[in-house]
């Protein structure tokens, strides 16, 4: 968001004398008269409805997913009694308009559209304070309304905020400040962490805020952190694909690419941009067992794109449903399972260059599955049902789905132990009253056995931590190929949690970047694994050494020499796909092809680098 515009609005609201452009003021006055026309006129019995004072238009544009058509900001300031129209304008997929944060006791709150659609809402606000809206399918789309009472000093945020998780926290609390800073960072690409600069400066302007009587300046939320890019000393094996989902690219109107990184040199090999097909928010990838193709979901669209791993040539673009989020294959059959996040199913597609739809697995009403996973033995598929607060365990032979309510808010990603006994579901907004949680699911009994409190050591009011469990808003959460650890990217705390699967406790918290999102494991040369972590609002990939459980390096995903990239170079890190896949169920299938002539010499070379332990021998 452009802070200058916010500043203008704020000073106006605070009565500091700066005015909106004359035309707008004139319009406002006129509109006010017209809306009251007929009052006291007996002949007119009709009563006018609400006239929106501001608009937020939902778009596919990174950062400004809710956009004020007046100034392009993701934030509007209105007065008590005024209304805001929230509508979907320039977006290729369906969304929900859902309250993430609101004022306790506000009339007609929370707002929540149960199912994704294209439906708009006009929301009237009676209580001053901060209100944040999101989409349950794409839960980092943020738009904010500040209802400011002109009679009070500063911009009113209210004394408390109510979170969608049920928690009510003071606006002076650490968690509220984290949320507020994150809102400004997420919706302002200029504030995203840029590792080509020596420091990350989140400089917020001096705008007086009123936290229910406590006055602070917005610039109190500013931060400055040094940046350091460092390549891991030990190379990896093969390559790593990262969805740099927000890159602006010349020649297309939608956003994002798939960045191919050479794990031997840590150099970018290429970026697949999908210019001709207008690739839209490439979110998550998988490959066939011979690593010929990359299967690519388009999360803010309805499509699955398949391209050649080596050349980047696009073979097919298939419409699969609303907001396809993740794709994975079933070990043994190589059939694709695509989670249809905006609907209630996982689509099944034939492998190869092009795809016949083989069927669909219903995950239950209003489920909206996001980052599913399949067990190494190919027996079970588990879906985190973002819109239902449940997970579904699907027996892939019978395709029977069992929905297990977990009481969580936005379950978003799944990891399964290689032993095939337990699945882990990261819950973006926790399991009330836990702010941040991961549910452990017993696959045999099909029951939730535990919720791991990912923020057990964090005091949300003071911000103090007393141990490693302080990860907030967990997203992708795979289990290491050896079954020892669950590694989770936490988007709000900008950290990486490591859970020991033997004790189900957080044993480590590592620093990451704003919008930490995608995690996947790859092979480390000479033995062991790396966890690769991508962050939406930074332009590096964080590499975690799974032997030392330390950050091994941060690799720049921006390619400054690529003139096709016109903005947000290297940003939007989400899906990660290291090849060779280290998970034994899939790796065994690829190893079987070794020497048959079906594998590219490059792939044969990667397989030769693997140690017997890595191969699972």
């Amino acid at each position: 968001m452009r802070l200058k515009c916010l500043f203008t609005a704020v000073t106006l609201a605070a009565g500091l004398g700066l005015s909106l452009p004359a035309e707008a003021v004139k319009l406002k006055q006129r509109a006010a008269t017209t809306s009251q026309a007929g009052a006291g006129d007996e002949a007119i019995i009709s009563v006018a409805g609400v006239m929106p004072s501001a608009t937020l238009e939902m778009t596919d544009e990174p950062g400004t997913w809710f956009k004020d058509p007046n100034d392009g900001d993701a934030l509007v300031v209105v007065k008590p009694g005024e209304a805001v129209l929230i509508k979907m304008t320039d977006t290729n997929s369906e969304h929900t308009i859902t309250s993430l944060i609101w004022q306790p006791g506000a009339r007609d709150f929370p707002v929540d559209q149960e199912k994704p659609s294209s439906a708009s809402v006009t929301v009237k606000f009676d209580k001053p304070g901060l209100y944040v809206f999101t989409c349950k399918v794409h839960p980092y789309m943020f738009g904010a309304v500040i209802v400011d009472d002109p009679a009070t000093p500063g911009l009113d945020l209210g004394s408390e905020i109510q979170l969608v998780t049920g928690a009510k926290v003071p606006t002076t609390s650490d968690i509220a400040k984290k949320l507020l800073r994150t809102f400004f960072v997420v919706t302002t690409p200029a504030l995203w962490r840029d590792y080509t600069k020596p420091t990350w400066e989140v400089k917020l302007p001096d705008i007086p805020l009123n936290l229910g009587g406590v006055q602070i300046s917005l610039n109190a939320l500013s931060v400055s952190v040094p940046n350091q890019v460092s390549l891991p000393a030990t190379p990896g094996v093969g390559e790593v694909w990262i969805n740099t989902q927000f890159e602006k690219i010349a020649g297309k109107t939608k956003f994002g690419s798939a960045t191919q990184l050479d794990a031997a040199t840590w150099k970018i090999k290429k970026k697949v941009k999908g210019i001709k097909t207008n690739l839209n928010h490439p979110h998550n990838m998988w490959s066939d067992k011979a690593y010929r193709y990359i299967y690519q979901t388009e999360w803010f669209d309805k499509r699955l794109t398949t391209f050649d791993r080596k050349t980047g040539d696009i073979y097919s673009v298939v419409t699969v449903g609303q907001s396809p989020s993740h794709v994975i294959t079933r070990p043994g059959t190589d059939v694709l399972y695509v989670a249809i996040n905006g609907e209630d199913r996982v689509a099944k597609l034939a492998p190869g260059r092009n795809h016949n739809l083989l069927g669909a697995i219903n995950t239950g009403p209003h489920t909206g599955p996001h980052g599913h996973w399949i067990s190494d033995d190919g027996k079970y598929m588990v879906t985190p049902n973002a819109l239902a607060g449940s997970v579904s365990v699907v027996d892939l032979s019978s395709e029977k789905a069992t929905e297990i309510p977990t009481g969580a808010v936005i379950p978003i990603a799944i990891g399964i132990r290689p032993q095939g006994d337990y699945a882990y579901a990261a819950n973006l907004l926790g399991t009330p009253p836990m702010l941040s949680s991961m549910s452990v699911i017993d696959l045999k009994s099909k029951k939730k056995v535990k919720d791991i409190d990912l923020a057990a050591d964090y005091d949300p009011v003071s911000g103090k931590t007393q141990g490693p469990a302080y990860g907030l808003l967990p997203i992708q959460t795979p289990v290491s190929p050896d079954g020892k650890y669950v590694v989770t990217a936490n988007t709000l705390s900008a950290t990486i949690s490591i859970v020991d699967t033997a004790t189900n406790k957080v044993i480590r918290q590592l620093p990451c970047d704003p919008g930490a999102h995608g995690v996947e494991f790859g092979f480390k040369k000479g033995g062991g694994y790396y966890a690769y972590v991508a962050s939406k609002f930074s332009n590096v990939l964080t590499v975690v050494d799974m032997d030392s459980l330390e950050v091994a390096g941060r690799i720049l995903l921006a390619d400054p020499g690529d003139t096709r990239i016109t903005g947000l170079n290297g940003y939007g890190g989400q899906g990660v796909l290291p090849l060779p896949l280290p998970f034994h169920g899939w790796l065994t299938e690829t190893l079987k092809l070794s020497g048959s002539g079906e594998l590219d010499p490059e792939v044969e070379g990667w397989l030769k680098e693997l140690t017997p332990a890595q191969k699972g021998i």
Binding site: P21, E23, A24, L27, K28, R30, A31, T33, T34, S35, A37, G38, D41, A43, I44, I45, S46, V47, A48, G49, V50, M51, P52, S53, A54, T55, E57, D68, P69, N70, A83, V84, L85, K87, M88, T89, Q113, E114, K115, S117, S118, A119, S120, V121, T122
Partner: protein
């Protein structure tokens, strides 16, 4: 004045009921502007009627004074023509903005499309360069028609979705419309209709307006309004669709006939740019009350797509 009426009546008697005798020319200036909310809207700048005898009547004051959604409701009669000049008042944009009208006749250069679509020229207003359209409400064009932008935005196909739309009512030259009154299909005189309610169904919201013929004024009613009348008054509804969604308009307690038929209905399908006008007698057979109206698509109802038809004594 009296002389002119007598003269015209005489002329009518001599020439027979010629349409030309009553034909009017409308000189209209509209402006496309941005509302404080950031939405776009049309505004009436000036509407003058040139009567056949040469008398010019300025009816601008009947309209709402600012930009509104829906835009100004323009009323013509079969046989009338209109010269509609559009001004570009969207101060933060250089993109062309236009008027594309449905239903009435016009020549190619009044289509309101861009060169990218029509292959010839931008039939649109630019900042400082208004564009004039000519509409002919030829015999057979009676009905309620939408007009909307067909140029603004990228890729220049129009910003109707952002609020640039309005209503054109072409009344039949006969001055009568069929209606279901007291259980019978009958012809009612347009001059007996006291109020007209214009309801646009866009996404999950009704955007309303009233043409009140008692005080001769257009009243903007914005979103999901209460429309009101006295029991027994003849009122005409104009329901129009916009956007991508399909709706089913339902009004409680009242029935009407589908135009051109004798089918009695209380719910009609409204797709994008579909429209329906109908006359009801307020509270007929059911009395006073706040009669609900809404879209019957459940998801739309749940999103608040509803209002009231208030019938009072």
């Amino acid at each position: 004045m009296m002389n002119r009426i007598l003269y015209q009546l005489g002329l009518l008697l001599v020439l027979g009921l010629s349409q030309q005798a009553w034909a009017e020319t409308h000189l209209i200036t509209l402006k496309a502007a941005r509302l404080p909310s950031g939405q776009l809207a049309y505004q009436m700048v000036s509407h003058k009627i040139e009567h056949s005898g040469g008398k010019v009547e300025d009816i601008t004051s009947r309209y709402a004074p600012g930009p509104t959604i829906p835009g100004p409701t323009i009323v013509m009669t079969e046989g009338d023509t209109a010269k509609v000049t559009l001004e570009h008042g969207i101060t933060d944009s250089q993109l062309p903005v236009s008027l594309h009208v449905h239903g009435v006749h016009y020549k190619f250069d009044s289509d309101g499309t861009t060169r990218a679509l029509n292959g010839v020229a931008d039939q649109a207003a630019f900042p400082g360069k208004p564009y004039t359209y000519e509409w002919i409400a030829a015999p057979g064009t009676a009905g309620t028609w939408p007009y909307h932008d067909h140029a603004f935005g990228d890729p220049k196909v129009g910003a109707e979705d952002q609020g640039l739309y309005g209503t054109l009512i072409v009344n039949p030259e006969s001055g009568k419309v069929p209606a279901l009154i007291d259980g019978k299909v009958t012809q009612v005189n347009l001059k007996d209709i006291k109020r007209e309610f214009i309801l646009w169904m866009h996404e999950t919201t009704f955007w309303g307006q009233e043409l009140n013929h008692i005080v001769n004024r257009e009243i903007p009613l914005w979103t999901n309004p209460t429309v009101g009348a006295r029991q027994g008054e003849l009122v005409r509804f104009h329901v129009i669709g916009m956007g991508t969604a399909f709706h089913t308009f339902h009004l409680h307690g009242h029935r009407w006939i589908e135009p051109g038929t004798t089918h009695v209905v209380d719910t009609v399908n409204i797709g994008p740019i579909n429209r329906q006008s109908f006359v009801v007698k307020a509270g007929e057979g059911v009395g006073t009350g706040d009669w609900h109206y809404h879209c019957h698509v459940v998801q739309h109802m749940q999103s608040g797509m509803m209002g009231k038809f208030r019938v009072i004594q």
